[in-house]
């Protein structure tokens, strides 16, 4: 569990680094996506209880013994939602980038700063 948590934070940092240093709009979006992935990993890790199985009721996991057998189901449910939302945001960001590129033929964020002060 420790390792996935650390991995999650490492991904978070990598993504943040990309967002802060890459000038290319696509790379910034990818950075954001990596951050998102890192966070999802952290969420899942937090719900994980070592040695337990997925929170799906079947032959082995019955409603009676589920509490002893499965990991915390809530983070798993949350992460699904978060993934969907992350997907939507990323897709929207990408479509913005495409539109911006179509208009100005530039992918550098430094070319989009007329609005200031």
């Amino acid at each position: 569990m420790r390792y996935t948590l650390i991995l999650g934070f490492i991904l978070f940092m990598i993504g943040l680094w990309a967002m802060l240093t890459r000038k290319n709009l696509f790379k910034i979006v990818i950075g954001f996506s990596i951050i998102d992935t890192g966070v999802h990993l952290i969420i899942v890790t937090i719900g994980y209880l070592s040695g337990k199985t997925a929170p799906i009721l079947d032959k082995l996991v019955t409603p009676a013994n589920a509490v002893q057998k499965v990991v915390d189901p809530i983070p798993s449910a949350l992460v699904l939602t978060a993934i969907v939302i992350g997907l939507a945001v990323t897709a929207l960001m990408l479509s913005y980038v495409v539109r911006l590129y179509k208009r100005r033929k530039s992918l550098s964020i430094e070319d989009y700063r007329e609005l200031k002060w």
Binding site: L16, M19, L20, K23, L25, I28, F32, I35, D36, V39, I42, I43, I46, I74, P75, L78, T81, A82, I85, A88, V89, L92, M93, Y96, V97, R99, L100, R103, R104, I109, E110, Y112, R113, E114, L115, K116, W117
Partner: protein, 1046 residues
């Protein structure tokens, strides 16, 4: 009652069907959209009604058949109903506003629009932390997409910046949520709050910090808000008004909901975040010329204020009903005004604030624009005013001094750029342009305007239990507005009737000194109203404002509590500002006027808040027991400075000459002879408190006040003699005369006060007279420069007489009333032992002679100018009031006891009298004065000379204008013989050092310093989206350590 869950069902149920609806017709799908928003507004409104007017308690709505924490629950309480109503309503109106854009777009924006509003509804109602995240994202994603409605490059760029900034914030929100879940084992907000002790652990603190900060980032705090400004600047009006008000409202409510998680000792940090945002946004906005970006700065500032106020009221444990009132008033003012202003921006379609000048030709829209701006600044009766009043009181009670200073400072900055904008529109010289005002755009604006008015009238009546008396100025203003289409003469008569009626109405309440001021404020105005009949045409707007101002002065007299007094004071200020702004070149002077007046009002507000009495007013004074601690020293100083600003005391006088001079000519006489006395009236109340209180150092204070008074006299008079413009001359003269009154009041003796009030009344007579005469002259000769006049004595003999009488009365030459005034003043000062001040005031009187001589010499004597060959006497409407005043002056000169006896009786309750009457002779400890005798002697001497003149007139030969030889030359132009320009050049060489514009220089320096600070600070908004992301990150880190994270 409709289950609030219906709101979501309606949104979601219809949104997915929109593609189908649209197949039928766009009109149909748009109608469905409107209908959904209308029904939801209705549902929220119904709940709001229940919470406000019945004893309905908040309800929880459970979902999925489980109780929390196993399911999501929603809450519907007063706060929720209030915000939901506002949000759905603004959604409805903005949809109407956008109807044309929606007509030509694809169907998706309609769906997105619904989703955006639904997201906000969810944010407000949900009590589940993760659900809150989901709704935040729903509303954000639809907002991102809607920004690109009517796509252009700038919108795309700002939208992208918004996405990466806000995306990062929501990632932090998610992290905070999951860690809180990890620690508490629940996502239910109420349960988390009950177990909030976990915050003391470092992980607990970190998670709550992350959660709250991400919400605060969404609220656009300075400096991590560059992206938001870009969005405000570029997005189309209908959408940006939703982003600025509805989305912000939702996120703000989420913040409000989660604020209990913040430990009590950290609340001040949160308040600090808000105040930094408030101050700096308002500061930077000063440099902004893009109208939408300016509104953006103002929005961010207002949200910052809301954060501060929410955190502070929580910190102080303010009663929840009161804190709710304060927060919701600030919220509503910004909500309505900002949405309205963004909508107006969409009609104007101009970016630069100067280009908004086309509003000038659309009076209806201009009035609405003005009202929205006044609402933002917190002018009475708009909600912000009441919020400010309560808020500052609480802060003062809790001794949070620095917060008071910061909040008022920020408000002043905001008032500065908003009023500058307003003034530049009203006074612009741009030509008329075509302005399309389609109904679908104006209707939402008008509805919000009416809503604001209704709320503003409802608050004083329902919450502060105001009866009709303090509201009469507004009633008067409205009555005259209704009759504004009538010709000026008729409106002047209506105004006179209203003022007479008002006087009769309040007469029973008046007694003692308030009678004196009622005479000045109301009777003085009544007579001067005759002069306004000379106005031609309908002259729209003048009379409503004038009546509003006069009645607010009356309101000051009969105010029963500090609040009523302050209410009247601010009403008077704003109406006077609008009157000054009517002057043709009054843009800058009016701005200075409102800026200094508001600064004064804020000082008064804080002073009243520090006072331990709630009835600072003349009426209230009688009702409270004597106590030594009624006014602490801070309160005393704050209040006295406020009044000194109003009278234009030296150091605070720079607003005075310009606004008196550039106001319209008849307005000037109201301002100088009447309005300026309100400061004296206030000071009188303050000194009465001082008398009652027996305060420490009171002798020191009054002595200081005396010095301020005498220096005002000295510098005012000195500056008056070097003016070329007659109105500037008289404005400075006014300043000097008011200085005398302050000096007399400061003497704190029977004779001092009698002479102060005597001078106040006398000043009304002669200053109104001179100013009206001068107004008449200006109306005929068309210039204010004295050197361009001359020899008008033959053309305008009546005006000459009244100026002559006026200057005799002013200068203090026997036999007229001014002599009595001076006699009283010197006696009072000598009696007090203020010898140096007496000497200085004697000297200043001599200076006054100089400017008075110049006044009469350069205008009426000497050689007439050729262009004034056909000048006629001033209009009788100007002359009638002048002669009424002459009559009054003659009466009190002849029979001084007519006025001094009553004054003396009014002062008797406060000081033991040191003067006695024997017949018509007034005895003081230093000597005696008999007005009759003085009159007879002077008249006798005058008659002797006159008789001699008449006898010798036979030998006089009449000469024509140029029948003279001057230095061996025969002049052909009057200018060569009538020396009037730079009249006192020789004195200027001698005394010029005293009139160097030190004060002006100082205030200019302050202005430049502020402006350049704003200029440098705004450089942080580099325009680069990546930099903004960095700011957000740094903001997190820095605040984490400031707030004591480990």
């Amino acid at each position: 009652m409709v289950n609030p869950i219906m709101i979501f069902i309606l949104f979601l149920g219809t949104a997915f069907l929109f593609a189908l609806f649209d197949k039928i017709h766009r009109k149909f799908s748009f109608a469905i959209l409107q209908l959904v928003l209308l029904i939801n507004t209705f549902i929220a409104g119904q709940w709001l009604y229940k919470f406000v007017f019945t004893s309905q308690t908040p309800v929880m709505i459970f979902t999925a058949g489980f109780k929390p924490p196993f399911s999501i629950n929603l809450r519907m309480g007063l706060e929720e109903a209030f915000i939901l109503f506002a949000v759905n309503f603004v959604g409805l109106l903005s949809a109407l506003y956008l109807s044309k854009s929606f007509k030509h777009s694809k169907v998706y924006p309609l769906v997105l629009y619904l989703m955006m509003i639904m997201g906000v509804n969810g944010i407000v109602m949900t009590r589940d932390l993760f659900n809150l995240f989901v709704f935040l994202e729903i509303s954000s994603i639809s907002t991102y997409a809607l920004i690109a409605l009517k796509e252009n490059e700038q919108r795309l760029a700002s939208g992208f910046k918004y996405m990466i900034a806000s995306g990062l914030a929501s990632v932090f929100f998610l992290l905070g949520t999951i860690f809180i879940y990890h620690i508490t084992g629940t996502l239910n907000i109420d349960q988390i709050i009950t177990h909030k002790s976990f915050v003391i652990t470092s992980l607990g603190f970190l998670s709550v910090f992350t959660l709250m900060m991400s919400l605060i980032i969404e609220l656009k705090p300075f400096p991590a808000n560059g992206w938001a400004l870009d969005v405000y600047q570029t997005t189309t009006s209908g959408v940006v008004s939703i982003i600025a008000v509805a989305n912000s409202a939702g996120v703000f409510y989420a913040f409000y909901k989660l604020l209990p998680l913040i430990p009590h000792n950290q609340l001040l940090f949160i308040a600090g975040i808000g105040i930094v945002s408030f101050l700096f946004s308002n500061l930077i906005a000063i440099k902004q010329t893009d109208s939408r970006r300016l509104l953006g700065y103002s929005s961010i500032a207002q949200i910052g204020l809301l954060i501060t106020v929410t955190a502070l009221t929580r910190y102080l444990h303010v009663k929840s009903s009161t804190s709710l009132f304060i927060i919701s008033s600030i919220f509503l003012s910004n909500f309505i005004a900002k949405a309205g202003l963004f909508w107006i921006a969409g009609i104007i379609k101009k970016t630069h604030i100067k280009e908004w000048a086309i509003l000038r030709f659309k009076p209806g829209l201009l009035i609405i624009f003005g009202v929205f701006i006044f609402a933002l600044v917190g002018i009475p009766p708009f909600p912000n005013f009441w919020a400010k009043w309560d808020l500052i009181r609480f802060l003062a009670l809790s001794k949070l001094h620095i917060w008071i200073i910061l909040i008022l400072l920020g408000s002043l900055l905001e008032a500065f750029y908003l009023f500058r904008w307003f003034g530049s529109i009203v006074r612009s010289e741009q030509n008329e342009e075509q302005l399309l005002q389609p109904a679908y755009k104006t209707v939402p604006i008008i509805i919000f305007f009416l809503l604001l008015i209704i709320i503003s009238i409802g608050i004083p009546i329902h919450i502060y239990q105001f009866d009709i008396l303090p509201l009469l100025p507004i009633v008067g203003l409205l009555i005259l507005s209704i009759f504004d289409f009538l010709p000026s003469k008729l409106k002047a008569i209506i105004s006179m009737i209203i003022i007479a009626g008002y006087t009769l109405y309040i007469y029973p309440v008046l007694s003692g000194v308030s009678l004196v001021f009622a005479f000045i404020f109301l009777a003085g105005s009544f007579i001067q109203l005759i002069a306004t009949m000379s106005r031609k045409g309908t002259d729209k707007g003048f009379f409503p404002l004038l009546v509003g101002m006069i009645l607010s002065m009356g309101s000051l007299l009969v105010a029963r509590s500090s609040l009523e007094f302050f209410f009247a004071w601010e009403l008077m200020t704003i109406t006077a500002y609008m009157l000054v702004l009517r002057g043709r070149k009054a843009e800058k002077p009016a701005l200075l006027f409102i800026l200094f007046s508001l600064a004064g009002a804020y000082l008064l507000l804080s002073g009243l808040s520090y006072a331990h009495v709630i009835n600072f007013s003349l009426v209230g004074l009688g009702t409270i027991p004597i106590s030594a601690h009624m006014l602490p020293i801070t309160a005393f100083i704050l209040i006295v400075v406020a009044f000194l600003i109003k009278v234009g005391a030296v150091g605070f006088h720079i607003w005075l000459p310009g606004s008196y001079a550039e106001a319209e000519d008849d307005t000037t006489s109201f301002m100088s002879s009447i309005l300026s006395k309100t400061g004296i009236f206030g000071m009188l109340i303050l000194l009465l408190f001082l008398l009652k209180m027996n305060m420490h150092h009171s002798a020191l204070f009054t002595s200081m006040l005396g010095w301020i008074g005498i220096f005002t006299v000295f510098f005012g008079s000195l500056m008056a003699i070097f003016q070329e413009d007659v109105k500037y001359l008289l404005a400075y003269s006014s300043m000097g005369q008011l200085g005398y009154i302050v000096l007399c009041m400061a003497a704190m003796s029977h004779l001092g006060w009698v002479s102060g009030l005597y001078l106040a009344v006398n000043h009304l007579f002669f200053k109104a007279m001179i100013l009206l005469a001068v107004a008449g002259v200006i109306s005929r000769v068309g210039t204010r420069n004295m050197y361009e006049m001359g020899g008008l004595i033959k053309k305008m003999p009546y005006s000459f007489i009244s100026v002559l009488i006026g200057i005799i009365a002013l200068s203090g030459v026997p036999p007229l009333s001014g002599f009595g005034a001076k006699w009283l003043i010197y006696t009072a000062l000598l009696e007090k032992g203020w010898y140096f001040r007496a000497g200085l005031s004697f000297f200043a009187s001599a200076i006054a002679f100089l400017y008075l001589f110049r006044l009469i010499h350069t205008i009426f004597l000497g050689q007439p100018k050729p262009q004034h060959q056909n000048v006629k006497e001033a209009s009788p409407f100007f002359l009638i009031p002048q002669f009424l005043f002459i009559f009054a002056i003659m009466a009190i000169s002849m029979f001084p006891n007519l006025i001094i006896k009553p004054l003396s009786t009014f002062i008797n309750p406060y000081f033991a009298s040191t003067i006695q009457w024997q017949g018509n002779t007034l005895y003081s400890s230093l000597g005696y004065w008999n007005g009759n005798l003085v009159m007879y002697v002077t008249m006798g001497v005058f008659m002797l000379l006159l008789i001699w003149l008449i006898i010798s007139i036979g030998r006089v030969q009449k000469v024509k204008q140029f029948n003279i030889v001057f230095a061996a030359e025969r002049p052909f132009k009057p200018t060569t013989t009538h020396f009037a320009h730079n009249f006192y050049a020789h004195y200027k060489r001698a005394l010029g050092t005293f009139v160097r514009p030190v004060t002006t220089g100082f205030w200019n320096g302050v202005g430049e310093w502020i402006s350049s600070a704003a200029g440098s600070i705004r450089q942080i908004y580099s325009g680069n989206g990546q930099t903004y992301v960095l700011y957000i990150l740094l903001y997190f880190i820095v605040l984490y350590f400031i707030m004591g994270g480990k």
